[in-house]
């Protein structure tokens, strides 16, 4: 089992020791996370390491997953798309079903907590039933809600207003709400199977298994097959690059159980890539962390050409592997990538193609930017900082009206 002390060689003794001492002020507190999927997607990944580590720190931390039928996830996907600015239709029946599924889930939950952190809109309306079971309720929005569709936000706002606080990944996503809003950046786990160091042999073995011959420079995008990740735009960019420079493209995507649109987008991508032997589309299971790790380490250029993005943990992962990343100039990607320092921000397939060519032709510059990127992640986007933020958030929940707390 990985313990907090295992992170000391990566982040420094003082960072780990800080966490223990901060947690001393919260001993015995009960902390509950609630989301809607146990595997697949960034939230489940964060919780899979955060929960055991918080328990190691002496906080009684539990993780609950709500269940729903396909109709429920159709509604919550519409919420997700609506928060990201897409126009969606919500009928009264859909909203009633959303509340009904939450009500059914609420009946299963008997815990009592000091702080509950409810992740994203799927379980948000649990508060309407379970309010007395926790002293403080905090809504954690992982989605790029910078320009939400009004109908969706109007509905969700009435629910979110009942919370004591909300947490967003970026200040752009914060809303006009009657309670304190906090910023917590997501993070990655440097010791997880997805991010731990790999040997050359391990990387080669994965490439062999996936049938990827490394005979040309490899361009990679790792993401769910979702229209906001713009896989079609990546294929367009790849075709532009190939006019000048030989290379191959791998689009590797997992499936999240709460995303019903995945298969449809995958079909569109397969059609766009038809007849092109240098494009490989890999549909990987949600637990293919080792494969993703090897692909990211093997890639010459990593792209995350999203048109909407909550934070973009795949960008963080690639940066941690010392890669200069080309990302869409949206959401949290903007926080992570700075032109010529840690990567490049782009706004079109043409821009993406141009930067891919730049990095392929300037490997030394790519290496230097990758090193800066790795150090940037070490300081700001590793899980030790994330846990420190959770602890700080809990301390602030004890003193909601104070801006300066001296322990």
């Amino acid at each position: 089992m990985i313990t907090l002390d295992d992170y000391a060689p990566i982040v420094g003794e003082e960072v780990v020791s800080q966490l223990y001492r901060l947690a001393e002020h919260l001993q015995g507190r009960r902390f509950v996370h609630i989301n809607s999927t146990a595997i697949g997607g960034g939230v489940a990944e964060i919780l899979s390491w955060a929960v055991p580590l918080m328990n190691q720190l002496g906080l009684q931390t539990d993780w609950e997953v709500i269940m729903g039928d396909p109709a429920f996830f159709e509604v919550t996907k519409a919420f997700h798309n609506g928060l990201q600015g897409f126009k969606v239709n919500l009928t009264r029946a859909m909203l009633e079903h959303y509340r009904q599924v939450n009500l059914e889930n609420a009946r299963r939950f008997s815990w009592e907590a000091d702080v509950v952190l409810v992740h994203d809109p799927q379980p948000a309306s649990l508060i309407e039933v379970l309010r007395p079971q926790s002293r403080r309720w905090v809504w954690r929005c992982h989605i790029d809600a910078s320009r939400p569709h009004l109908t969706v936000w109007r509905f969700l706002r009435e629910i979110v207003k009942q919370y004591d606080a909300s947490v967003f990944s970026m200040s752009q996503f914060a809303q006009n709400l009657p309670h304190p809003q906090y910023l917590i950046r997501p993070s990655i786990d440097p010791l997880s199977e997805k991010n731990r160091d790999l040997t050359e042999e391990e990387i080669k073995a994965v490439l062999n298994r996936l049938g990827i011959e490394k005979d040309k420079p490899l361009i990679l995008q790792v993401s769910r097959f979702d229209s906001f990740k713009d896989p079609i735009g990546v294929i367009q960019a790849f075709r532009l690059v190939r006019r000048h420079t030989p290379c191959k493209l791998v689009l590797a995507g997992g499936e999240a159980t709460d995303d019903p649109e995945g298969p449809e987008i995958l079909a569109q991508v397969q059609e766009a890539a038809q007849g092109e032997p240098d494009i490989q589309i890999l549909l990987l299971p949600p637990d293919a962390h080792h494969e993703i790790n090897a692909l990211q380490r093997a890639a010459d250029v990593i792209v995350q050409k999203s048109t909407r993005e909550g934070f973009g943990l795949t960008v963080t992962e690639a940066m941690w592997k010392g890669k200069a990343v080309i990302g869409g100039a949206v959401g949290g990607i903007v926080l992570q990538l700075r032109d010529y320092h840690t990567g490049f921000l782009v706004s079109s397939p043409e821009g993406c193609a141009f930067r891919i060519r730049y990095l392929l032709h300037r490997p030394e510059m790519a290496r230097r930017m990758g090193q800066t990127a790795k150090e940037f992640v070490r300081t700001h986007f590793l899980i030790t900082r994330h846990i420190r933020d959770y602890l700080t958030l809990m301390i602030l929940q004890d003193n909601p009206d104070s801006r300066l707390i001296e322990l």
């Binding site: 910078s146 200040s171 752009q172 906090y182 700075r338 700001h380 700080t392 602030l396 707390i405 322990l407």
Partner: protein, 230 residues
């Protein structure tokens, strides 16, 4: 000089740790005129966040712009002239945040006055106002001598450096002062070292580089190698 390194201070220096939680207000501005208006209305804590605290919240990979306003002028308004003016603005030249607010507002008003049109932010690059809540905790690290102080500097987190070197300037009410130089001055004298620390151009170092700079200054002034790796 070795003696000076071993001299025991009357009061030990206790390092504090500082955890900053940024709090977005959910309010944004889309152009320079709105920023000016917003600056006149916001709480002083918001001004403090964008000028000082944001350095700890998310330090840039390389320090290019010393505050959020200059960064926004460059990246969002794509107005290099304004970014240059805001980069040269030093909040520590003013006695309190009320005066800082007035000075920034004057700078923006004068700049806007001469412009034929109001610069707008690119879509998606609006300026979002933030403030912060801060939790301060005693660390277990203290120093009684300058030698111990050097060792401690290599051990503490960057949040400690921020707290004692940046936040202290407002806390102490002496805008050129910081906790480190104050402790050295009151316990050991060393006016040249104290002056050198107070003269560090804090805008061009990230927190890690500041740590190295401080160690270098003490080392240089005492002509004695402090124990720190690398």
């Amino acid at each position: 000089m070795a003696k000076k390194l071993e001299q025991v201070a009357e009061d030990p220096f206790w390092f504090q740790e500082c955890f900053l939680m940024a709090m977005p207000l959910g309010k944004k501005v889309v152009n320079l005129r709105e920023l000016l208006q917003g600056l006149r209305e916001i709480d002083e804590s918001v001004l403090f966040y964008h000028l000082i605290q944001s350095r700890l919240a998310l330090g840039q990979p390389t320090v290019e712009y010393p505050n959020d306003f200059a960064l926004w002028a460059a990246n969002a308004l794509q107005d290099n002239k304004l970014a240059e003016k805001l980069s040269s603005f030093d909040p520590f030249e003013y006695q309190n945040l009320g005066l800082v607010r007035q000075a920034v507002a004057d700078l923006l008003e004068e700049y806007l006055w001469d412009l034929p049109s109001v610069p707008w932010a690119r879509p998606g690059f609006e300026f979002h106002f933030c403030q912060a809540s801060v939790v301060v905790m005693h660390s277990l690290i203290s120093a009684r001598t300058l030698k111990e102080f050097c060792e401690a500097l290599t051990q503490v987190g960057m949040d400690s450096i921020y707290y004692h070197f940046f936040e202290a300037r407002w806390r102490l009410g002496e805008l050129k002062g910081d906790d480190f130089s104050f402790w050295i001055e009151t316990n050991f004298g060393l006016p040249e070292l104290v002056k050198a620390i107070r003269d560090v151009d804090i805008y061009f170092y990230n927190l890690n580089e500041l740590r190295e700079t401080l160690l270098g200054l003490i080392h240089q002034h005492l002509e004695e190698l402090c124990d720190h790796p690398g």
